[in-house]
Symmetry: C2
Subunit: 316 residues, 2 copies
C-alpha cells in the first residue's frame, strides 16, 4: 500500500519532526531527515540571517529531503520566504496564519506546501489555496494552538473527511501506539513535536529538556486565550499568567505580563522560572534524552508492532 | 483473542454506553444492552425512587447485562447504593469521587465495579481499592471533566501502562475509527456518550438532540474550572458563564450564576438558552437521530472495517 505522505516528501517513514521555536535548528532537522523521517527547521525563532546559516549547515549535514516551518504570525515573513526560494528549499510548512496568502506564491515556485490547521474551515481554505497536505493539530499540542480546543482524536477524522489532500496528525503523538491511533483516525502521517524537543540534537536548553522529562500529568496548561492560545509548562511565569487570568486580566495586561522574548529566555537560555516553556501534554510520558534516530526508530518499530497486535483484537 | 471487557461484563461488543444525566434511563440502557453492548442507567440525575422505577422497567426490557452509574458527588449516594444492592444490580460504574470509599463495599456485595478517572493517580487508587476496570475519560468528553485537561489520546496510554486491570477509553469516541484509535492506545473497550445522547431512546429533550446534531467545531467549551470543570454547549447560559469567567468571577459568583437544576432545565426540559447543555466535542460529527442499535452496529462494523484497512497501512 503506497503512502501519500512518503511519496509527497520522498521520505522513508511518514514521521515528521515538528518545526519548533528554539528547538529545531539544522542539528535536529538533519538528524531526523538522515534517519528517514522529515526534519523541519523551525524558522519561527530565527532572524533571516540565522535561517540562512541554518540552511547552509543543513545542506552539508544531509542530502535527504527536509522542510522549513514558517509561522505566518511573525514579522520578516517576506524576507524568510525570499531566502527559502533563493536557497532552493523544496518543502515549506506554514502555520499560524491564513494559507491563502503564501501558498500560491510558494506553489508558483514549485515548492511543496503544507499548512498547519486546527479546524475544518482552515483545512478547506488551505486545500483551496493549493496546499499539498494538511497538518491537523489538536489541543494537546505544545505551543500555539487553536481557539476551538478540538483534540487530535476529534479533529483528525473531521479533517480527513473534509479534504482530499493527505492529513498529517499532530498533538499527543510520541509513540508507536499514538501514531497507530492517528493513522486509525484517517491521518497518513504524523508530526511529532515534544518527543523531538528532548532529542539530544534539539537546540532546547539542557535545563528545559530536563524539566520536560520530569513533567507530570497536568503540568502543561492552555493559556493566553485572550491573545493567542498557547500551551505552557508550569513555572513561575505560568503561575503568574494563571493568576492574572483567574482575576480577569484583559489582553493588554496579559501582553504586558508576557513581555518580549520569553520563549527564548526559557527554552533557549534556560531560565526555568521566568521563561515561556512551550511543550505538549505528552511531556508527561517522556522520560529520556536520546538521539533523534533512536526516538524515530522507536516510534516506527512501535507502530509496526502495535499494528500487529491491533489486527488481532477480536471479540471471539 | 479473548477480550477482558467482554468477559468481565459478559457482553458481545466492548462498547459501553456512558451513564449520562438526563439522557440514559432504562430506555436507552436496555436498547444498548439488547444490541450487545453494555447499557448504563445514569443515576446522577435520579432521585432514589426514580432509580428504583428505572430498575424495574430495565429488568422487564432486557435480560442482558447492564450497569448503573453513580457519580459520587451527589447527595443520596448511600440510598442509591442500598437500592442497587437490594435490586441485585451486578455492575456499577462510579465516577466523580474517591474510589476508595465505595469500591470495597460494592466488591463485598459481589458487584463488578468500574471507576471513571481522568488521571493516573486515581486510576491506581481505583485499582488498589479493588475496582475491576477503569474508564479513562479525556478532556474532549462532555459533562464533568478532570482538572488536568488531559486528552483521551494522551490519557489512555498512560493509564494502560499504570494499571493491570482493563481500561475503557472515553471522550471523543463516536465511530469505528475513534474506537480503533482507542484500542490502538491500549484500551480494551470504549465508553460512548454523546453519540448515544442523540439516540432515539435517549431521554434527552428532542430540542437538545436537535441542537447537538447541529453543533459545529468549537461549539463546546470547558467551563467552571473554579468549581467543577464541565464541558458545555454554547448557548445564552454558556455565554454568561464565559463572560463572567473572562472577567475573573470567583467561585461563589459562578455557583450563583449556575444556580440549581440547570442541567435538567436544558437537557430534559428543553430550554436551549438558559439550560446547562452537557455534551462532548464529537457533537460536531453527529448528524442524525437514530436507534441505539443502529449507532452501536455502525461503530462496531466501522471498527472491523477500519481494522482491516489499518492492518494494510505500510510504507512500501
Amino acid at each position: 500500500m503506497s503512502n501519500r505522505i512518503n511519496s509527497l516528501f520522498d521520505i522513508q517513514y511518514p514521521i515528521i519532526q515538528a518545526g519548533m521555536v528554539w528547538c529545531s535548528g539544522w542539528k535536529l532537522a538533519s538528524a531526523v531527515s538522515n534517519a528517514g523521517g522529515l526534519g523541519i527547521i523551525g524558522a519561527g525563532s530565527m532572524y533571516p540571517d540565522v535561517l540562512w546559516q541554518h540552511l547552509q549547515k543543513m545542506k552539508t549535514a544531509t542530502d535527504k529531503p527536509f522542510a522549513v516551518n514558517i509561522p505566518l504570525m511573525y514579522p520578516d515573513t517576506e524576507i524568510l520566504m525570499d531566502i527559502i526560494v533563493k536557497e532552493g528549499v523544496k518543502i515549506v510548512f506554514t502555520s499560524a496564519g491564513n494559507p491563502a496568502i503564501w501558498t500560491p506564491f510558494l506553489k508558483g515556485m514549485d515548492i511543496t506546501v503544507v499548512h498547519v490547521i486546527s479546524n475544518t474551515r482552515f483545512a478547506k481554505k488551505a486545500e483551496d489555496a493549493g496546499a499539498d497536505a494538511i497538518v491537523a493539530e489538536g489541543f494537546e499540542a505544545g505551543g500555539h494552538n487553536g481557539k476551538e480546543e478540538t483534540t487530535t482524536l476529534c479533529l483528525v477524522p473531521m479533517i480527513a473527511d473534509a479534504v482530499k489532500i493527505p492529513v498529517i496528525a499532530a498533538g499527543g503523538i510520541s509513540s508507536g501506539r499514538s501514531m497507530l491511533a492517528a493513522i486509525a483516525l484517517g491521518a497518513e502521517g504524523v508530526q511529532v513535536g515534544s518527543a523531538f524537543a528532548v532529542a539530544e540534537e534539539s537546540s532546547a536548553h539542557p535545563a528545559f529538556k530536563e524539566r520536560i522529562i520530569k513533567a507530570n500529568e497536568g503540568d502543561t496548561r492552555m493559556h493566553l486565550q485572550k491573545i493567542v492560545p498557547v500551551r505552557l509548562l508550569r513555572n513561575t511565569f505560568e503561575a503568574a499568567v494563571a493568576a492574572a487570568e483567574a482575576e480577569g486580566a484583559d489582553p493588554a495586561t496579559l501582553k504586558s505580563l508576557l513581555g518580549r522574548a520569553r520563549a527564548k529566555l526559557g527554552m533557549f537560555d534556560g531560565n526555568m522560572e521566568e521563561g515561556e516553556l512551550e511543550i505538549g501534554q505528552v511531556s508527561a510520558m517522556l522520560k529520556e534524552i536520546r538521539p533523534a534516530k533512536v526516538i524515530l526508530d522507536e516510534i516506527w518499530q512501535g507502530f509496526l508492532s502495535e499494528q500487529q497486535t491491533l489486527s488481532k483484537f477480536d471479540i471471539k
